[in-house]
């Protein structure tokens, strides 16, 4: 590819951009069928670029004990080599074309993503197909990559926020099928063999339900031939879709958890819990409630914790869910000296919402915020595709995306108050603190209200 050619192309592109006026956005979504596989196509002629996602209806829940993390590693290590191409050649080819190739594995589903210039799509997809069908996971390369990963995991202790996210996730989802990290842990890394990784990829390619999401100019649809012939992708009604059953988790008292790390002059705090399958139905109310509680500079927690008291630089709340489970949390940090004050302020803020409710003005601010921000969900084609993929995964209609504003306007202040109490009410929370060992004594003062403190070694979580 000669760059100069594309200066001209780019010029034309911007000229066309000036006169671009989008039709109703949902009208640009088309459903196709390629060899039995459902394809969702979003036409966009503004740029000579594409985004492509391949969805698989299974994820890390397919991993066997002691092979936990094998799905993630099977996809991550696809570029380790094939009989014909070395790792370097594979990487070099993608990088030469400016093609982005990525993998996302959750417990419930897996996504392969590619993005680049549309003229290079068939070439890049051809290489991706070679990797999917012919990756042989050469042992020396696998060992090198896993050694590198071990080093990165050992270093996690020097990234308190990242370590806190990892440990809190596992702790707050404890005793559920979703608690184990999709990446596996140090102790699992020695169990990944070339045969295991190859079998994993074959399982996903041949047994699991797939869907394709693609956006760009019409010319990119010629990738169908590559996907169906070289990748040999086909769909059958009997393709596997992961669903599980599990016993509901019910927590009736708070649990204080402390994870000491060396030499930290800042404490990481996360407060949250697992959400059962019957607690995740109303995602738009979830969005509204977390917007009010911790969704921006004007959220209740930001006002109470940062603006009024200067206790932190950042605080946020979330309720996130997949098809069968969810998790909720408040995430922040503070200096060692103010840890108890921070937790007290957060608890009192949530309690006050329960007791006093939220005002109509609060409601309107939060509603206005998420309704006004809604169009930004469509600005990037990749983000747009990801939302369609997510709705398909949780088996909800696309109308939820396009009717979002109307639905949000129907919620009352009482709905938001109830949701915050149900999800963030103090008695059901894990209160997780990661920081210097010296703060343990101070934390024990919280025990009278929050129960006995549980101290965990972070090394058990990496």
């Amino acid at each position: 590819m000669k760059t100069s050619t594309y200066i001209i192309g780019l010029s034309a592109l911007f000229y066309s951009l000036q006169s671009f006026a989008a039709p109703k956005i949902e009208d640009s979504i088309k459903r196709l069928n390629w060899n039995g596989i459902e394809v969702v196509y979003l036409e966009d002629n503004r740029f000579p670029t594409y985004d492509l996602l391949i969805y698989f209806a299974d994820g890390a829940l397919s991993d066997e004990k002691m092979q936990m993390g094998s799905t993630k590693h099977a996809f991550n290590l696809l570029d380790a080599g094939t009989a014909k191409l070395s790792q370097k050649e594979i990487m070099d080819q993608f990088e030469f074309l400016g093609t982005e190739f990525g993998v996302d594995v959750t417990h419930e589903f897996t996504t392969l993503s590619m993005a680049g210039l549309s003229k290079d799509l068939t070439t890049s997809m051809g290489q991706a197909c070679s990797m999917l069908r012919e990756a042989n996971f050469p042992l020396p390369i696998i060992k090198q990559e896993l050694e590198k990963e071990k080093t990165e995991l050992q270093s996690l202790v020097s990234s308190p926020q990242a370590l806190s996210d990892r440990v809190f996730r596992e702790v707050s989802l404890g005793n559920t099928p979703y608690s184990y990290p999709v990446t596996g842990k140090l102790k699992n890394l020695d169990f990944y063999t070339p045969n295991l990784l190859r079998a994993k990829v074959d399982y996903f390619l041949d047994k699991v339900k797939k869907r394709i999401y693609i956006t760009g100019p019409k010319s990119i649809l010629n990738v169908e031939k590559v996907l169906t012939e070289k990748c040999q992708l086909q769909g059958h009604p009997s393709d596997f879709v992961r669903t599980i059953t599990y016993k509901k988790i019910k927590r009736n008292h708070p649990q204080l958890v402390f994870v000491p790390v060396p030499d930290a002059n800042q404490v990481q705090v996360q407060i949250g819990r697992f959400l059962n399958f019957d607690e995740i139905g109303d995602r738009r109310l979830d969005t509204l409630a977390t917007e009010f509680l911790g969704g921006g500079f004007t959220s209740r927690l930001m006002r109470e914790v940062r603006v009024k008291r200067g206790l932190t630089y950042s605080i946020g709340s979330y309720i996130s869910s997949q098809k069968q489970y969810g998790r909720a949390g408040i995430s922040t940090f503070t200096k060692n000296e103010t840890i108890n004050k921070l937790i007290t302020v957060i608890n009192e803020s949530v309690e006050k919402i329960k007791k006093e409710g939220i005002t109509q003005e609060d409601l309107e601010r939060s509603r206005g915020s998420i309704v006004g921000a809604h169009p930004f969900k469509f600005e990037s084609n990749r983000a747009f595709l990801s939302q369609l993929l997510y709705l398909d995964h949780i088996e909800r209609p696309y109308a939820e995306l396009f009717d979002f504003n109307n639905a949000v306007m129907k919620y009352s202040a009482e709905d938001v108050t109830r949701k915050i109490d149900e999800v963030f009410g103090a008695k059901s929370q894990i209160i997780f603190i990661l920081g210097d060992k010296s703060i343990e004594k101070e934390l024990r003062k919280l025990s009278s209200k929050m129960g006995k403190i549980k101290v965990l070694d972070y090394k058990n979580f990496i």
Binding site: Q18, I25, F96, Q154, G310
Partner: protein, 473 residues
Amino acid sequence: MLQKKILKKLVAATIMTGVLTSCAHLTPSEKKPTPTELNVKKVVLDNGLTILIAPNPKLPIVSYYTLFDVGGRYEVKGTTGATHFLEHMMFKGAQKYGPGQFDTLIERNGGVTNAYTTNDATVYYENIPSSFVEKMVDLESDRIQHLLLEPVSFDSERQVIFEERKMRYENSPDGFIYLMMMKKVFEGTPYGQSVIGDVEDLKDLSRDQVMDFFKTYYTPDNAIIAIAGDVDPDKLLPILKEKYGSIPRSKILTDLKAKRDDPANYVLKAHFNSEYSFYSTNPIPKFTMAFKGEKAGTRRAFVLDVLAYMLGNGGSSFLSQKYVRNANPLLSDISMSSYNLRHAGVFYLSGELMENVNIDKVKTQLKGDIKNFCKDALDARTLQKTKNQILSTAYHQMKTNSGMASTILMNEKVYGNYNYGVKEMEIYNSVTESEVKKECNDILVNSDSIFISTWDKFPKNIAASVTQNGEVK
């Protein structure tokens, strides 16, 4: 928000802004865009305020960026962190829209707002629904004229900044090593001062000092506004003129900036033949090897960008293959960067060791190997790959309104021409293999470096500094 390398990233990412108009006049352009022109309308008001508007009707949303040409480089001894502190206080209320109203109004209408401060600039940005643009003009014009700087929130925000400092630098080995690199490489120059501020300075910084900073530097002739999205320039410009047009230009700024930007202030004084070891919490050593770089905008700066890409960008790059992806890797991660500031630059290599690899061994090997980088790593194919990657990055940048607004804003600031993308691409595209090899030899082979490492096994509270001849300072 403090964003340490944003200028470099933006400049690098705007390589291909492509296609722009040639109507960079001092008055509203009447010229119609040709097929090779980006539809940007530029106006410079009588008070010196530069306004750029890039309409895009795809969705009813807008990105609104405001840049002030003031960063950490204008802080004097004892006031480090003042620029960044002021950035925080800009959200704390002004005359018309008092405390809490600025972000409340934006967020209740679906917008988000934030800012970042670098050594060279302070940038405020909002992503908002297009229906809110007129109010946004009012909000922004209010705060740049009538900032309150309330004493109560001033002290509360000081605590917030201390927490931000811990998050970004004190509890982050990567942030800490970067901070130390900037201090050591630019020691004795305005770029050697910490943008977030030294702790003692932050404790002592007064409201009056920050207000003085505000009055001195937040003037229309020191600002650029870029708005991209669903707006009609012909309707928006009169509103912008009405709200911003009466703000007086500075009477002192031109002379003050000339004095502060005197090239003599930026002549590097550091001893580029030294090593520093610092305690940090990382259990596996990390390091940075820093060389004298180049200021932004010169042809050499473009060549160094290409060189950094060629050596260290991506898993197939020379450095990754040599040190990370081989049978006996020394490192788990490596990267090469060229950070081009307005008046000086730094070219640096960073990495993290593999477990149980000795830091001294890596240092010795790197210093030996580096002499061969230029002949082993640089070839025509890698040069073409780099140009392709730069192009791809540029496309990605231009897909959103915020990408467009920040691109034209930075091009206007750095090159005096929002339209510079085509020229930049021409320059990158004209870089030759021999040119890259020459600069590679000059910067890596024929120059000394500063080597900085962090590890939790190094002594606490002591920076061990060793010169190449073994003398401990």
